[in-house]
C-alpha cells in the first residue's frame, strides 16, 4: 500500500465528509473540489490517466465552476448560513447517518474478496478508451449525446422560464 495512495484516499473521504457538513455553500464547493482532485490522484494510480484528466478538467473544472456561478447568482448571505445551522442540528443526523452506516456496512459485508490472479498492471491509455468508445460503444456515445442534448434543452427551457418569470 502506497503512502501517497493512503493519503489521497483519506483526503477524499475527509473532503467528502466536509462537503456534507459545511454550512456555507462556497466552502462545500471548495471541499468538493479537493475531494475530486484527490480522487483524480487515485485514478492516476489506477492507471487511468485519461479518466483522471477528465475528472480534473470537467468535474473539478467545469461542473464546479457551474456550482460557483449558481451560488453567486443565488446571492446567499448570513441568514442562509444561520438557517443551515438550524437545519444541521445533531438530531437531524441520527436517522440518515444510521441508514447510511447500515448501507455501508452491508455493502462492505457482501463485497467479499476478489482473489485470483491479478493481471499485471498496465495503464489503460486514452487510445484504448477511444478505440473502445468509438468501436463497440459508439451507440452508447450517441445515447450520451442525446442525453446531453436533452439536458441542454431542458436547462435552457427552465432558464428561459425564469427569465420570463422576471
Amino acid at each position: 500500500m502506497h503512502a501517497l495512495a493512503l493519503l489521497a484516499a483519506s483526503v477524499t473521504v475527509v473532503g467528502a465528509v466536509m462537503v456534507i457538513t459545511r454550512r456555507v455553500a462556497v466552502h462545500a464547493v471548495l471541499y468538493l473540489v479537493v475531494t475530486l482532485l484527490s480522487l483524480a490522484v487515485i485514478l492516476v494510480m489506477q492507471g487511468a490517466s485519461f479518466a483522471a484528466m477528465l475528472e480534473v478538467i470537467i468535474y473539478a473544472g467545469a461542473i464546479m465552476v457551474l456550482f460557483v456561478f449558481v451560488i453567486m447568482m443565488l446571492n446567499l448571505g448570513h441568514p442562509d448560513s444561520a438557517r443551515e445551522k438550524e437545519w444541521l442540528r445533531p438530531r437531524a443526523w441520527c436517522g440518515p447517518g444510521l441508514l447510511a452506516a447500515i448501507v455501508c456496512a452491508e455493502l462492505l459485508y457482501c463485497m467479499g474478496t476478489f482473489s485470483g490472479p491479478a493481471r499485471p498492471f498496465a495503464p489503460i491509455t486514452a487510445h484504448d478508451v477511444g478505440l473502445s468508445l468509438f468501436g463497440r460503444y459508439v451507440l452508447m456515445v450517441e445515447l450520451a449525446s442525446f442525453l446531453l442534448l436533452a439536458g441542454l434543452v431542458s436547462a435552457f427551457h427552465i432558464g428561459r422560464n425564469r427569465v420570463g418569470g422576471n
Binding site: 441508514l99 447500515i102 448501507v103 452491508e106 459485508y109 457482501c110
Partner: protein, 656 residues
C-alpha cells in the same frame, strides 16, 4: 288500306284526347269541343269506310292488323293486334257514330263548364279505349281497353269532384268493376296457361278442339262471366250503375248506357264458342240475366229520379242481352245492344237536355207538363220511350226484343242428362219484363211531359248543337230495327246474316202468338201506364203509401246496404284495426322486450358492481391514505425510502 285505317281509327280519338289534355287552359271551350268532335268524327268516317270495305269482301273476311309483338316469351305470346270482323264492325259503328252524336251534343251541353278540357280529354280517351276493346284480336289487348274504359268511367263519374258523393260513386264503380276485371284476368290466365296464347281465334280453336278439359272451360267461362257481369252491372254487381249517374249526362249516355256497359255483352258474344261449350255457365248467364231484367224493371218502376230510372232501365235491358247470350242467341244480344245504344242514348240525351233546361231538377215529380214548354224534347223522349218499351212495328226496340224473345222460347239447357232447363219460364219472365218496361218508361213520360205543370219552369232553348244529335238518334231509334224481322213478319235476317252468314237464325216453326204476345205486352204496359198516370186526373199522383216493399225497391232492394254491411264496413273496420302495421308492432315489441330485459340485466349487473365498487373503493381509500402518508412529496424522504429499500434488498441478499 285497312292496315293503316284500323290503327288510325283508334289513334284519332287518342290524339284528340292528348291535344285536349295537353292544351288544357289554353283553348276555348269551342275549340276543345271541335277538336274532340273532329277526332271522333274522323273515327266515325273511317269506321264507315272500313265497314264498306269489309262488307264488299268475302262473307267471312276478317281484317287483321298486328302492330307489334307485345310479350313473346317461352310458353306465351301476345301481340298488340287488331282485327275487324263483322261483330266488331257492328260495335265500332255503334261506338263511333253514337259517340260522335254524343260528343256533338256534349259540346253544347258542357259549353260553360270550367272543366270542359278534362271532360273531353276523358271522353275521347274513352272512345279510344272502347275501340281498343272492340277491335282487339288478342284478349290481353282487349283487357287494355277493358280497364281503360273503366278508368275513364271512374274519371267521368267523379267529374264534379267537389261533391264527395260523386267521387264516392266513382270509386264504387271502379272497385266493383275492378273485382270483375280481376276475375276476367283469372280467366285470361287460365286460358293463357292452357293454350299459350290469348289470340281470340287461337283460344276458340283450342277450346273447340277439346284442348281444354270441360271443367277448365266451365271455370274459364265462369271467370269471364263474372268479369262481364261486373262491367255490365248485372246481379250481383248491379249497384254501381245507378250511382254512376252522378257524372255529366253525356257521360251517362255514352258510357253508362250505350257503350261501356255493353262491353260485357260484347265479350261474351265474342267468345260465344267458348260459352257454347259451357252449358251450366250458359244457364247461369240466362238466369242471372232474367233476374236482373226483372229486378231492374221493378226498381225503375218506383224510382223518382229521372236519370236513375234510366239507369235501372239500362240494367234491365242489359239483363235482356245477358238472357239472350245465355240462350245462345248472341246475334240477338248484339242486335239489342245496337238498338239499345240508339234509344238509350236518345233517352239520356233528352233527359239531359230537359234537366239542363229545368235548372238541374231530376225529380220527376217536380217536373211535369213539359210537353208545352219543350215539344221537341218531349217528342224525342217519347220516341225513345217507345223504342225502349218496344212498341210494335214502328220502333227498333220491338224487333230486337222480339228476336231475343223468340230465341229464348226455343232454348233448352241440357245441364245434366236427366235435368234440362227449358227456356219457357225465362220467356215468360222476359215477357213480364217487357210489360214492366213499357209501364215504367211511360210512367216517366206521362209524369214528366203530360200532366199538370209543376213549379219548375223551363228556360232557354235547346241549342242546335244539342238538338241535331237528338234528331239523328230519333231516326235511328225508330228505323234502326227494320234490318231484322221475325219470321212471322217478312222474314228479313240482314243482321243475323251479317254476323254469322253460315247459320242464320230462323225459327220458321215458331207459333204466331209468340210474336203477338211480344207485341201486346208493351202495348198493355202503355195502356196501364196511361190509366195510372196519363189521364187528366191520374189514378196515382205519387208513389202510393210508401209501402215497405216500395221503399226497399227504391233503394235497389237494399243491396247497397247489404254490401255495405257485409263487405265495406268489415273492410273498413279491419283496415282501421290494422291501421298500424301489426308485424311492425310485433317486431318493435320484441325489440322493446329485449331492451327491457337487457335493462334489467344491466341494472342487476350494475347493482352487483356497485357493491363491489363501494367496498373496493373503501379499501382502496384506506390503502391510498396509507400510501399517501408515505408519498408526502418530499424528495429527501424519497431518497430515504430508496436507501431503505437498498438496505433491505442487500439484507436479503446477505442473509439468504
Amino acid at each position: 288500306m285497312g292496315e293503316i285505317l284500323l290503327p288510325l281509327l283508334i289513334l284519332c280519338p287518342l290524339a284528340a284526347s292528348m291535344i285536349v289534355s295537353v292544351s288544357a287552359g289554353r283553348m276555348g271551350a269551342c275549340a276543345i269541343g271541335t277538336v274532340a268532335c273532329t277526332g271522333v268524327g274522323i273515327s266515325a268516317v273511317i269506321s264507315i269506310i272500313l265497314s264498306i270495305t269489309l262488307l264488299s269482301g268475302p262473307p267471312a273476311g276478317v281484317l287483321q292488323v298486328t302492330l307489334w309483338p307485345w310479350m313473346h316469351i317461352a310458353g306465351f305470346s301476345a301481340d298488340i293486334a287488331f282485327m275487324l270482323d263483322r261483330v266488331s264492325m257492328v260495335m265500332i259503328l255503334v261506338v263511333t257514330i253514337v259517340g260522335l252524336l254524343i260528343h256533338v251534343y256534349a259540346a253544347g251541353y258542357m259549353r260553360d263548364d270550367p272543366g270542359i278540357a278534362r271532360f273531353f280529354g276523358c271522353m275521347t280517351l274513352f272512345v279510344a279505349a272502347m275501340l281498343v276493346l272492340v277491335l282487339a284480336s288478342d284478349l290481353l289487348c282487349l283487357f287494355i281497353g277493358w280497364e281503360g274504359v273503366g278508368l275513364c268511367s271512374y274519371l267521368l263519374i267523379g267529374f264534379w269532384y267537389n261533391d264527395p258523393a260523386n267521387t264516392a260513386a266513382a270509386r264504387k264503380a271502379f272497385y266493383m268493376t275492378r273485382m270483375g276485371d280481376v276475375a276476367l284476368l283469372c280467366g285470361l290466365l287460365l286460358l293463357a296457361t292452357a293454350t299459350g296464347s290469348l289470340r281470340i281465334g287461337a283460344v276458340l280453336a283450342a277450346v273447340t278442339n277439346g284442348q281444354l278439359a270441360p271443367s277448365g272451360v266451365n271455370l274459364a267461362a265462369l271467370f269471364i262471366l263474372v268479369g262481364a257481369l261486373a262491367k255490365s252491372a248485372q246481379i250481383p254487381f248491379q249497384t254501381w250503375l245507378p250511382d254512376a249517374m252522378a257524372g255529366p249526362t253525356p257521360t251517362s249516355a255514352l258510357i253508362h248506357a250505350a257503350t261501356m256497359v255493353t262491353a260485357g255483352i260484347y265479350l261474351i258474344a265474342r267468345l260465344h264458342d267458348l260459352f257454347a261449350m259451357a252449358t251450366p255457365i250458359m244457364a247461369l248467364t240466362a238466369i242471372l240475366g232474367t233476374l236482373t231484367l226483372l229486378m231492374g224493371a221493378c226498381t225503375a218502376l218506383v224510382q223518382s229520379d229521372l236519370k236513375r230510372i234510366l239507369a235501372w232501365s239500362t240494367i234491365s235491358q242489359l239483363g235482356y242481352m245477358f238472357l239472350a247470350l245465355g240462350c245462345g242467341v248472341w246475334q240477338a244480344a248484339l242486335f239489342h245492344l245496337m238498338t239499345h245504344a240508339f234509344f238509350k242514348a236518345l233517352l239520356f240525351l233528352t233527359a239531359g237536355a230537359v234537366i239542363m233546361r229545368t235548372g238541374h231538377e231530376q225529380d220527376i215529380f217536380r217536373l211535369g207538363g213539359l210537353r208545352h214548354a219543350m215539344p221537341g224534347l218531349s217528342a224525342a223522349f217519347a220516341v225513345g220511350a217507345s223504342a225502349l218499351a218496344g212498341l210494335p212495328l214502328v220502333t227498333a226496340g220491338f224487333y230486337s226484343k222480339e228476336m231475343i224473345l223468340s230465341g229464348v222460347w226455343h232454348v233448352h239447357f241440357g245441364l245434366t242428362r236427366e235435368w234440362t232447363l227449358s227456356g219457357h219460364p225465362l220467356w215468360g219472365i222476359a215477357l213480364l219484363g217487357a210489360f214492366l218496361t213499357a209501364l215504367y218508361i211511360f210512367r216517366c213520360v206521362f209524369i214528366v211531359f203530360c200532366g199538370k205543370k209543376q213549379g219548375t219552369s223551363a228556360t232557354g232553348r235547346t241549342s242546335r248543337l244539342m238538338s241535331i244529335p237528338l234528331g239523328c238518334l230519333c231516326f235511328l231509334s225508330l228505323c234502326g230495327g227494320v234490318i231484322e224481322m221475325p219470321d212471322t213478319l217478312p222474314p228479313l235476317h240482314l243482321f243475323s246474316t251479317l254476323l254469322d252468314p253460315k247459320t242464320p237464325l230462323s225459327h220458321a216453326d215458331e207459333p204466331i202468338w209468340l210474336v203477338l204476345a211480344g207485341a201486346l205486352a208493351p202495348l198493355a204496359g202503355l195502356g196501364v201506364a196511361w190509366v195510372l198516370w196519363g189521364r187528366a186526373t191520374p189514378v196515382m199522383h205519387e208513389i202510393p203509401g210508401q209501402a215497405a216493399i216500395i221503399r226497399l225497391a227504391r233503394t235497389g232492394w237494399g243491396m247497397d246496404a247489404l254490401y255495405d254491411r257485409v263487405f265495406v264496413q268489415p273492410f273498413r273496420l279491419l283496415t282501421w284495426l290494422t291501421h298500424h302495421d301489426v308485424l311492425a308492432h310485433a317486431i318493435t315489441a320484441t325489440g322493446r322486450l329485449t331492451q327491457a330485459v337487457s335493462g334489467r340485466i344491466f341494472q342487476a349487473r350494475t347493482g352487483f358492481l356497485d357493491i363491489l365498487s363501494i367496498w373496493g373503493s373503501r379499501g382502496t381509500g384506506w390503502m391510498a391514505y396509507l400510501l399517501g402518508q408515505l408519498d408526502n412529496g418530499r424528495v429527501r424522504w424519497y431518497a430515504a425510502w430508496i436507501a431503505g429499500g437498498l438496505c433491505a434488498g442487500l439484507a436479503m441478499a446477505v442473509l439468504s
